[in-house]
């Protein structure tokens, strides 16, 4: 077998193992939360008999162990269970929400990743000169401000004063892609600002590290322009670290946008999670946590695989 296939298979197997470990952690975590689910559904005035019946119905009297495997068995068959609060199927309710979140995260990534990498390249080209300092200064400033603050600033200036984009990012199926983009323009802007600095700084650092190599001098002595030296000779050797930090930020875009969704009232996973935490709806919280864990692990596997493939020594063994 080609060594790359073997490495990739190893990474994927490890990822699956990690996902199982995460599922156990999620289950234990929700298990040790204080309070009783039956009590919180029925409220303070419930009779002991009603509580006992509900516990029986929900299977709360069984051991934690068998409940975990029941839950896991269901998950493996695509059944995330029903929400306690409204008895709706979680997989169905979450499907649409997840789609919305991925839509927002995807567009944010589409803007922020190329922008961050380009800014990183420009910063290297003008290292320690004013363009570099300005890029670093601005991106660090945006990452230093909390998301909600940037969000409200944008709402106040762009939406209320200038009236360019709506302040509330509500989308539905009947809207065209352009209308949807118009609706989510502000959340995209906020998310881009939040993840930009990290990716830009990493791109800059990774390429500067490569710029120390003797083959960069070779390229300079060939008469290449400074930007071509960076693009053709430095960047291909800096892909692995850059992809790693890009993937961590993409994962953040999916699982970390709770606050942004709440600010812009966007119907995504974040809103969904926050709503059901408030209602103490354990199955929904578990399901969301598991999906988030899967996204994180999945994107990191992708980063690993890209790093492996970008290494010519592994791709073309002797």
């Amino acid at each position: 077998m080609h060594p790359i296939l073997k490495l990739v298979a190893q990474r994927i197997a490890l990822g699956i193992l990690l996902l199982f470990a995460a599922s156990a952690l999620i289950f234990v975590g929700t298990e040790i939360l204080p309070g009783d689910v039956a009590q919180s559904i029925l409220g303070q005035t419930a009779t002991p008999e009603a509580l006992a019946n509900l516990r029986e119905d929900l299977g709360l009297n069984e051991s934690a162990f068998s409940r975990y495997f029941n839950w896991l068995g269901g998950v493996l068959q695509g059944d995330l269970g029903n929400a306690l609060s409204n008895n709706k199927n979680i997989a169905e309710a979450m499907g649409k929400r997840l789609g919305n979140t991925l839509f927002l995260a995807g567009w944010a990534a589409l803007f922020s990743v190329p922008l961050a990498v380009t800014l990183g390249l420009v910063a290297v080209r003008y290292k320690n000169r004013w363009p570099d300092k300005m890029i670093s200064g601005v991106t660090l400033a945006t990452i230093s401000l909390p998301e909600f603050f940037i969000g409200y600033l944008l709402i106040y200036f762009v939406s209320v004063k200038l009236r360019w984009f709506p302040s509330v990012a509500i989308i539905n199926d009947s809207m065209s892609v352009l209308e949807k983009l118009n609706a989510i323009a502000l959340p995209i802007a906020v998310l881009t600002m939040v993840v930009l600095a990290h990716m830009m700084r990493m791109t800059r650092a990774a390429i500067l590290n490569v710029m120390q190599s003797p083959y960069i001098e070779t390229a300079e002595l060939k008469g290449l322009t400074p930007f071509n030296v960076i693009r053709k000779h430095a960047f291909p050797n800096a892909i692995a670290p850059i992809v790693n930090v890009v993937m961590i930020n993409l994962a953040y875009l999916v699982v970390g946008i709770v606050i942004v969704e709440v600010i812009f009232v966007y119907p995504g996973m974040g809103q969904y999670l926050v709503d059901h935490v408030a209602k103490r709806d354990v199955p929904v919280v578990q399901a969301c946590a598991l999906v988030f864990a899967a996204v994180y692990i999945g994107l990191n596997i992708v980063a690993d695989i890209v790093s492996i493939i970008s290494n010519p020594r592994l791709r073309h063994p002797k």
């Binding site: 083959y215 001098e217 002595l221 060939k222 008469g223 290449l224 291909p236 050797n237």
Partner: protein, 543 residues
């Protein structure tokens, strides 16, 4: 043609240094160097490290490493390149002047195929279309003696050997048909047996294409084979300049004479006395249970003697050192030290066993903690093995510093404040502090200039006479072996091909490999390269 190809007038090169704890100040790297190079002429620049020879070579491309400032005049094809714009410099670089560096392995972009990199300049400067450029590259690969010239360009740098990469880099420099090529120590990083073929390929290519060249090296014997003229540099100043024959056979300046006669240490072989301090018996070893890197090695070493282990890279000589020190437990065989069998693995050995066997490495730089003073570094074994502290320790450290001819004033310095030779001396003092019976010296002079290396070898020999310590001296340099060894072990591909007292190993009849190794050592006479290539019995493996 009225104008010479290159005319350098009063070149001065300066840099600003930032020493720790001091104010930044300017230093002069090169001063008042002038030279002219006609079309098709080959000139050698020779000197020790720090002589400014690479800096001058790069100046011909108007390039300065790390904030170096060039002043004076450098005319290439009649135009002063120090006054040229960045855009016009890009036309000079890669089109009129190209560069071959010391380490081709590091100078190729690991992420791109060789062919792309070889023809990059030709395409960049729009000298021909892609098909013609590739055809020319294949021609050059063939002319430089690369195997499978049609397909080697499709490989990545890590897929070819160091000697081959150096040839590919020469092809890369020749591809755009430049007027001048700067060769910066192009064979220094290669094994002697590989160096000779690369040298022949370079010489041939220069002759066939009629390109002019500046050939930079510290090895006078090498430069004598390829150039017409030699300029000797020292501390950034020209010492002597003349035709090869005059420089080699009738040097005028004292410094040139010293360079020509380096490696002048005479060492009489001593007969073995007493019982051997080290007996290595039938050792075989492999890394991670994979390919066997040592098979069935047996050698002996007596007190006060030096056993030189020679071979090219990959011959297993450093692995042998790792096995003896216990870093790599052998799969078979035994090691006795002073009559007792040593435990195979490092962890099983007692402190006393560790003390008696010390090591000195090639890179003194990385073998010392940069944040510790010389006193701390040398004092550490005293404290560890003998429990000596305080004033007593300081007294003994000073004694050791005197032994290595450095003295008390160095005791509070940091490694960064020492020269290459001084660093290696500190490493020697550190190993002596343990009062060992055996010191393994792994290529200890390979990174040093010839004159400095000579000093280190003399010191090692003096110390051996005084303290009767035995050396296992690992090296690829046969001149060093001649200077210091009592017995020699020649290794090739993990096997011992020849072993015995120096006088026997170095006298005929030779086996094929020892013959190749001995005949590949550059000799300081014109025409040596051609004569040796004719008389060889065996091809070198590093190609």
């Amino acid at each position: 043609m009225a104008n010479p190809l290159v005319e350098i007038k009063n070149l001065k090169i300066e840099a600003t240094v930032y020493p720790p704890g001091e104010k930044p100040h300017d230093i002069v790297i090169v001063e008042n160097v002038s030279l002219t190079l006609e079309r098709g002429q080959v000139m050698g620049l020779i000197g020790e490290s720090g002589a400014g020879k690479s800096t001058i070579g790069l100046a011909a491309l108007a390039y300065g490493r790390g904030g170096i400032r060039l002043s004076g005049e450098i005319f290439v094809n009649g135009r002063d390149i120090l006054k040229a714009s960045a855009k016009s410099l890009r036309k000079l670089r890669g089109k009129e002047v190209t560069y071959v560096s010391q380490s081709a392995a590091a100078s190729f972009n690991p992420a791109r195929r060789l062919m792309e990199q070889v023809i990059e300049t030709t395409l960049l400067h729009k000298l021909s279309n892609k098909r013609d450029a590739e055809a020319r590259a294949v021609e050059l690969f063939a002319a430089l003696g690369l195997p499978d010239p049609e397909n080697i360009g499709r490989r990545f740098p890590h897929q070819v050997s160091g000697g081959q990469l150096q040839r590919v880099m020469t092809a890369m420099a020749l591809c755009p048909k430049p007027d001048l090529i700067i060769f910066d120590e192009p064979t220094t990083a290669l094994d002697v047996t590989t160096q000779i073929d690369v040298l022949a390929a370079i010489k041939n290519a220069i002759k066939e294409t009629g390109v002019a060249a500046l050939y930079i090296t510290h090895d006078l014997a090498v430069v004598a084979q390829v150039t017409d003229e030699i300029m000797v540099l020292r501390n950034g100043k020209m010492v002597e300049h003349g035709p090869v024959k005059q420089i080699i056979e009738a040097p005028i300046e004292a410094y040139t004479k010293e360079l020509v006669s380096a490696h002048s240490i005479e060492h009489e072989e001593k007969p073995p006395r007493d019982n051997p301090v080290l007996v290595v018996k039938n050792i075989s070893a492999s890394y991670g249970g994979g390919v066997q890197v040592l098979s069935d090695i047996s050698v002996e070493l007596h007190p006060g003697q030096t056993l030189a282990v020679v071979g090219e890279s990959g011959s297993g000589k450093s692995t042998l050192a790792r096995v003896i020190t216990g870093l790599l437990p052998p799969s078979q065989g035994s090691i006795s030290f002073d009559g007792k069998e040593l435990p195979k693995a490092l962890k099983q050995r007692s402190l006393e066993e560790l003390r008696e066997l010390q090591m000195i490495y090639q890179m003194a730089d990385v073998a010392m903690n940069p944040r510790q003073t010389v006193g701390t570094i040398i004092g550490r074994p005293l404290q560890l093995y003998f429990g000596i502290r305080g004033a007593e320790k300081r007294r003994m450290v000073i004694e050791l510093l005197d032994q290595i001819e450095m003295g008390e004033k160095f005791i509070d310095r940091y490694p960064a404040e020492l020269s290459g030779g001084q660093k290696q001396r500190v490493c020697i003092a550190r190993s002596l502090a343990a009062k060992p019976k055996l010191i393994i010296c792994d290529e200890v002079t390979s990174a040093l200039d010839p004159l400095v290396a000579d000093g280190i070898l003399r010191l090692l020999l003096d110390l051996q006479k005084e303290q009767q310590v035995a050396y296992l001296f690992i090296t690829h340099d046969l001149a060093t072996v001649r200077s210091i060894a009592d017995s020699i072990a020649v290794m090739y591909q993990g096997k011992l091909v020849r072993y015995g007292p120096k006088s026997e190993v170095l006298s005929p009849p030779f086996d094929d490999y020892t013959d190749l190794l001995l005949s590949s050592v550059p000799e300081m006479r014109i025409g040596w390269l051609e004569s040796v290539l004719k008389s060889r019995k065996m091809e070198s493996a590093g190609n």
